[in-house]
Amino acid sequence: MGSIMDYLYFPGCTLYTKAKNLDQTARNCSLLLGFELKELPNWTCCGATFPLATDNIMALLPPSRILARARQEGTTLTTLCAICFNVIKRTNRLIQNDGEKREKINNFIEMNYQGDLRVLHYLEILKQEIGFPQIKERVRKPLAGLKAAAYYGCMLLRPFDEMGFDDKERPTLFEEFLEAMGAEPVDFPYKIECCGSFQSVGSPEVATECGYKILGSAIKNGAEVVVSTCPMCTFNIDHKQSDIKQKYLDFKSIPVLYFTQLLGMAMGLDYQTLGFEQNFVDPLPLLKEKGFI
């Protein structure tokens, strides 16, 4: 596998609290794969949403500041939370391409950043920098027979010309990852539909409905577990299963795991280090039944 560089790492607020399991497993897995996530010093909130208003750049300053500081530390920045990734990558691209806004932003943050950082999602590192075949070789306990539905959500895929993550309508990267783990990917139409995002704060019932449709579609297509990359999505499709159950009485729970939890498990990490206690729907019975733990 050769020596692989270390990556600057922006965890984001949620990974320090509600999604520690995502953060921890990612860090541990990277060590097993031969690279380190070098956490940015003094990082701040990314803004949690890419500002869509074009007449005001204030909301662009936090992610710009993160980028500018990261550039002082290195050349490649990675993150896990899909929303943080979306905000940071889009901001980076805007600074790269919009000279006028770049100048304004630099004036505000009193730094000089040109947008020359590579911003990669952790999954992209796995695919592009390390390679799924190589990861497959590292798999100690293949997740044979695990029917896993890869849920992409929105922020990795859209807008396509800015994110360039995968085909926006028929993405396959996540499934390729699951295959490398030895799992059986389950294709389901709702894998690119929205989880309701921040509507869990504004109109929780709408987010409940979104989550119900996504999970229902995954279950109908034979999934035993849904795999996610994003703490926002995970909240809406995992933690909100209690709300879903309240509304749809015949709804049967389904575990939702972070992709790094699967990765760790497949690479032989002790399941007790994988933070399953933070998952709302307990995956342990399923994982035991499957003989993975």
Partner: protein, 436 residues
């Protein structure tokens, strides 16, 4: 300009679809010799794939075959099928065109067109002519009514070429016409004028990720529906969905798929989809009386003679439901094809759980049009359609004297307009010849 004596009053027509055929017959009937070059093994073009044509619902074969037969038998028309233009030199009155005659692996001089080879050929692959709706053999003619009625071997499907075994066709051929060693050959033709009528293709339905989650077999395109509906097609005209052969009871037709979409696909209107979709829906209703046809549209464009009446009749008499709006997404769920669309007239999102979806995909120029334009020294627009000399008053002429345009290669048109355009080009050729 050439002197009178040397001006060659003989024309070449490139493309043997309805436009090329119409132009050839016109020029031939005026007493001039014509060389008709077609890249497929037989003439007829896209129209050969159609079932019935709007607005009269005449069967396409019935309108077309007399013309293909007439072309094949015309004393002034020389057919060069399975051939492509390789190089063009010279100018009006004296073009020298080098033509590649592709290896058919069948000696057409000997072949009697008995069809035994096709019948016995053991190789079956999805047929391109049938848009994947049916199977085709490695040795084939495009249709039983092909002109000329001579088969060719497709080496990429033929077991002999792939695995060096089989040779069934050779064994069964009563006249020993199979020739696996045949090579492409080149011929030269000298002509005084050239008409290009190379026709169209459809933008592949696979282009539309959002419309074919994975690849849904029951999402087909308009030409595939024509094949399904065609009496000479793979289902002998029965409307059956590709996935399981069931009769679809709810069929959704989606217009403007890839057309009028400047951001993602083609900005132009493909001109024929509104009418053929209306026709499809009506023909579907004729065969599946208890079925429901839904048509998503943006604007209904029925501008030809009798077209508006045809559309309105479809709505009134066949109960076809028109929904004004685009479809955002199609995916498969529980063996059904789920369509997410909108009816902008009620402002409501519409979800239809359909049995089959037919996409009226955008018309694009035939592959290789730009290359041909370069050989001829004429222009194309950014999409590859040939550019006419002037849009209004010189719609069939090009920037090069002696080279003319016919049919959809200049821009999407329906059959009637394509034929008129082609006849117009023929008129210009006759005028050019008469002057010299």
């Amino acid at each position: 300009m050439k002197e009178n004596g040397k001006f060659i009053k003989r024309a070449m027509v490139i493309g043997g679809g309805i436009a090329g055929i119409s132009a050839s017959i016109d020029i031939g009937n005026a007493g001039y010799d014509v060389v008709l070059v077609e890249k497929l093994p037989s003439i007829g073009g896209r129209m050969l794939q159609l079932s019935e044509t709007f607005p009269t619902l005449d069967c396409a074969q019935c309108t077309l075959t007399p013309k293909t037969v007439e072309t094949g038998q015309h004393p002034h028309i020389k057919l060069l099928t399975y051939s492509e233009v390789d190089r063009v030199e010279g100018k009006a009155g004296n073009f020298t065109v080098k033509i590649r005659r592709k290896a058919a692996y069948v000696d057409w001089e000997k072949c009697t067109g008995c069809g035994l080879c096709q019948e016995k050929c053991p190789s079956k692959k999805p047929s391109e002519f049938d848009r994947g709706m049916g199977m085709g053999k490695a040795i084939y003619t495009l249709s039983p009514q092909a002109v000329p009625n001579k088969p060719v071997i497709n080496p990429s499907n033929c077991r002999y070429f792939l695995e060096k075994k089989c040779r069934v066709c050779e064994k069964v051929c009563p006249v020993g016409a199979i020739d696996y060693e045949q090579q492409d050959r080149f011929v030269e033709e000298r002509v005084g004028a050239i008409i290009t009528a190379v026709g169209i293709d459809l933008i592949p339905k696979e282009t539309f990720g959002e419309y074919g989650y994975g690849t849904i077999p029951d999402v087909i395109d308009g030409l595939a529906f024509e094949r399904l509906n065609s009496a000479s097609g793979p289902t002998t005209g029965a409307i059956r969905r590709p996935s399981d052969g069931k009769v679809p009871k709810e069929v959704v037709f989606i217009q403007c798929t890839g057309s009028r979409d400047p951001e993602r696909y083609m900005p132009y209107c493909s001109r024929v989809c509104c009418m053929y979709t209306a026709k499809h829906a009506r023909l579907y209703k004729h065969k599946v009386h208890d079925g429901q046809a839904y048509i998503f549209y943006m604007d209904i464009r029925s501008t030809g003679k009798g077209y508006e009446e045809f559309i309105q009749q479809g709505m009134e008499e066949e109960g076809i439901l028109y929904l004004r709006g685009r479809v955002s997404r199609i995916f498969r769920d529980d063996g059904r094809v789920v369509v997410w669309g909108v009816d902008t007239l009620t402002g409501k999102k519409v979800e239809i759980s359909a049995d089959m979806v037919v996409l009226a995909t955008a018309i694009i120029p035939q592959g290789g049009t730009k290359g041909l334009a370069q050989k001829l020294g004429i222009n194309t627009d950014e999409y590859g359609f040939f550019t006419e000399a002037e849009r209004k008053l010189r719609p069939v002429e090009t920037n090069v004297e002696g080279i003319y345009l016919a049919g959809c290669a200049q821009g999407p048109k329906d059959i009637a307009d394509a034929v008129a355009h082609a006849n117009g080009a023929a008129s210009k050729v006759q005028g050019l010849f008469a002057k010299h």
